[in-house]
Symmetry: C2
Subunit: 437 residues, 2 copies
């Protein structure tokens, strides 16, 4: 077995950077097992602005540097992770890494959308890949999906809610009737919007992401100056109110679509979508991207679009990918199974809430009898229901439904056996689990 260890040069130890360090620590064993022991990832060097600042993660002092050149040039650094943001220093770091033949992992959508042409050319020239799953929709693997899983598809369209801040603000304007400034202030107070929320609310954050998705789908560079972008600053409660009455919901949508003649439509704006459409159910700071391919048909990918852990999840996946590329001699996936054995939970020990329907002979005391057996077993009742039959007020048989609190399936079965033995119960009860998802 080839076991390769790769040194990571991490530029930026902010929210996402710290998340990457924590995720690598927490799940190191898991990652090693899942790659068949082939890829080991270690933080070799970290670029910070201030060496003396207190940090949420423990790193040896000699690991830290304030010089990005030192980081990129360190021979212990095999892969460079750029998480400092912006398009100036970040550009220098990524360009230098590529020129040194080091693969780059970045979450910087502005950088790739604005200066991707130069960077991807360097990537090609120096045969060093750029991985950027974290740049679009945080923890949702939409880059890999479009780039790899849909590789055999002509992509008809990609429509997404890819700015959580705007989605949150529009939702609060809808549910609470807030004006835009009030909803924005609320989002800022909750940490959902940056101190400078311009790129979020003016549509450009979504536009940068849409440019990356369109470049993946259609393969050509897209000039940000040529696309139509409108944000949510001008949205007013009155229009949201009308939308609601008319059966719509207002969402900031990025729309990418290929026309029959090959022309690509790319625009970002607040739009109405039908309340019944699945994208209308994307609430709060969640993101979702609907992809329509000629073979795969309609698909939707939904999840957390930002935040420390979701974004770190994508960075770590890219790091493993970069490690695998470097360890090419054994480039394919780990083998399954990768553990010899594991424990399976017996169904009796699985726990959910339940719906139970009994076919009972109606006589005084039936509910009390059933309820007593349940109580003796320590199973709580959250509701009971038995249909009233207006035309048969004195019917002898009826269906009685109990909604039961969460308990083990084993205890439920035991208890139901006891209830079945009551002489008012006519047949085996019908059981459904009520899933808490």
């Amino acid at each position: 077995m080839n076991c390769s260890s790769f040194g990571i040069g991490l530029a930026g130890l902010g929210t996402v950077g710290s998340g990457v360090v924590l995720a690598l620590e927490r799940n190191a064993g898991l990652i090693s097992a899942r790659t068949g022991g082939r890829v080991k990832l270690e933080i070799a060097r970290v670029l910070v602005r201030d060496l003396t600042k207190l940090r949420p993660v423990a790193l040896p002092d000699e690991c830290l540097t304030t010089s990005w050149r030192e980081l990129v040039e360190d021979p212990a650094v095999d892969i460079v992770v750029e998480l400092i943001g912006g398009t100036t220093d970040a550009f220098e770091i990524v360009a230098a890494a590529l020129k040194a033949g080091k693969p780059v992992v970045t979450g910087n959508k502005a950088l790739l959308a604005e200066r991707g042409v130069e960077l991807f050319a360097l990537s090609k020239q120096h045969d060093a890949p750029i991985h950027f799953e974290a740049a679009v929709a945080g923890g949702i693997p939409i880059i890999k999906t479009v780039q790899e899983s849909f590789i055999g598809n002509r992509i008809h369209s990609i429509v997404g809610i890819i700015n959580g801040t705007s989605n949150y603000i529009l939702e609060r304007m809808t549910s609470a009737g807030l004006e835009f400034p009030a909803a924005l202030a609320e989002a800022q107070a909750l940490g959902y919007a940056e101190a400078d929320p311009a790129l979020d609310v003016n549509g450009w954050d979504a536009a940068h992401k849409a440019i990356l998705l369109a470049t993946l789908a259609y393969g050509f560079p897209i000039d940000p100056a040529k696309i139509h972008v409108a944000g949510i600053e001008q949205v007013r409660p009155i229009d949201i109110e009308f939308a609601t009455r008319l059966g719509y919901v207002v969402k900031l949508l990025a729309v990418v679509r290929e026309h029959a003649d090959g022309a690509v439509e790319l625009r970002v704006q607040p739009s109405f979508i039908a309340q019944s459409h699945i994208l209308a159910s994307v609430h709060g700071v969640f993101n979702a991207v609907a992809v329509h391919g000629d073979a795969a048909g309609e698909s939707l990918f939904y999840g957390r679009g930002a935040g420390q852990d979701p974004t770190a999840s994508s960075v770590v996946a890219d790091l493993v990918e970069a490690g695998r590329s470097l360890a090419q001699a054994n480039g394919h996936r780990g083998f399954l199974p990768y553990r010899e054995a594991g424990e399976l939970l017996p169904v009796e020990e699985t726990e959910t809430a339940y719906y139970v329907r009994f076919d009972v002979t109606d006589r005084p005391g039936v509910i009390a009898e059933v309820a007593r057996v349940l109580a003796d077993a320590g199973i709580g009742i959250s509701g009971t229901h038995s249909p009233v039959k207006p035309d048969q007020p004195d019917a002898d048989f009826l269906d009685m439904v109990f909604l039961l609190h969460t308990c083990s399936f084993g205890r439920l079965q035991e208890t139901l056996r006891e209830i079945e033995s009551l002489n008012c119960i006519n047949s085996a009860p019908v059981v459904f689990r009520i899933e808490k998802l």
Copy 2:
């Protein structure tokens, strides 16, 4: 540039097999461009049962064989695709291919769930990967997502609607109040259920898929005999009715969950889920899988779970992956951009329906004037709305909303400029697109 051409040995030319041939033909140029010209895939040999049968795809006669040994042993075959189904011949073919060191692509969930332990051991021994994206949820890339994108996540749970036939039947029982046999007959008539629907309706098709997902997430072999599986044959309309009244919907759910002590829960059964949960919106033959990882948080992946094209989409993605593994010297992704230029559609030429709100001075003829300008421009009106203000029956100013048929944004803007010049219009109209998704 290394350009490698790989020969495919296709075992099975049924629905999905034909779809693979068609997708490779249709999108050959796209696949080549997207892999940076590195991977070219060609059908080298096809295993069929009957050489004389008419086929939906044109293949040279010398390509066809009725001997699986001939197919696997053919030196022109670099990658073997198994799409014949079942667990006997399919096992022989896959085992022989792996022993010959040839990567395998398969959509056979029963084979991998029932005999995966043997096959993955062969895969390891002969260093030949098994790709099986098509085995779970058709066109949804859930295998790659769990295996690669979530590689840095401890997976808390995977909950899925992964049998479209059952989902369709349950939905018809819900919407039309049908009994199970009638809904099944309808699904069969529409081609949504096999002539022998046993594995679909008894829960085992979903269970096989859940076993594969759990093996990916937790890495150990799972004995099908040890899991709890119930199908939908026993579901009755009365319980669906109660579910509806209580705010739930009945879905055949596969539930995989890791407990704090490391034990894995795996079960399949019809369950109640809240009508407000996003999984409740998975209709008809669609599939969806909700994955909860410690870093990525909650995600959902939704799309077509079966059918010729969606399943072929996953087979083709796996073929490219297998080709890349074989061409390892340049194992990483193609570069971006892969085209020098492409056409961007000007926003004026983009078309949607619209919501337009005017702030008007109310006097007789206002609606008629606006409507006339729209009619002259050839823009259809699907509805108008202006709020009645019961307390101000003679208000001078009001908001007037028009819902407009699909037209180009350019024509809309032109027409709105003309409307703005009417002296009953007080300010620039508010426009929202109504997206048809």
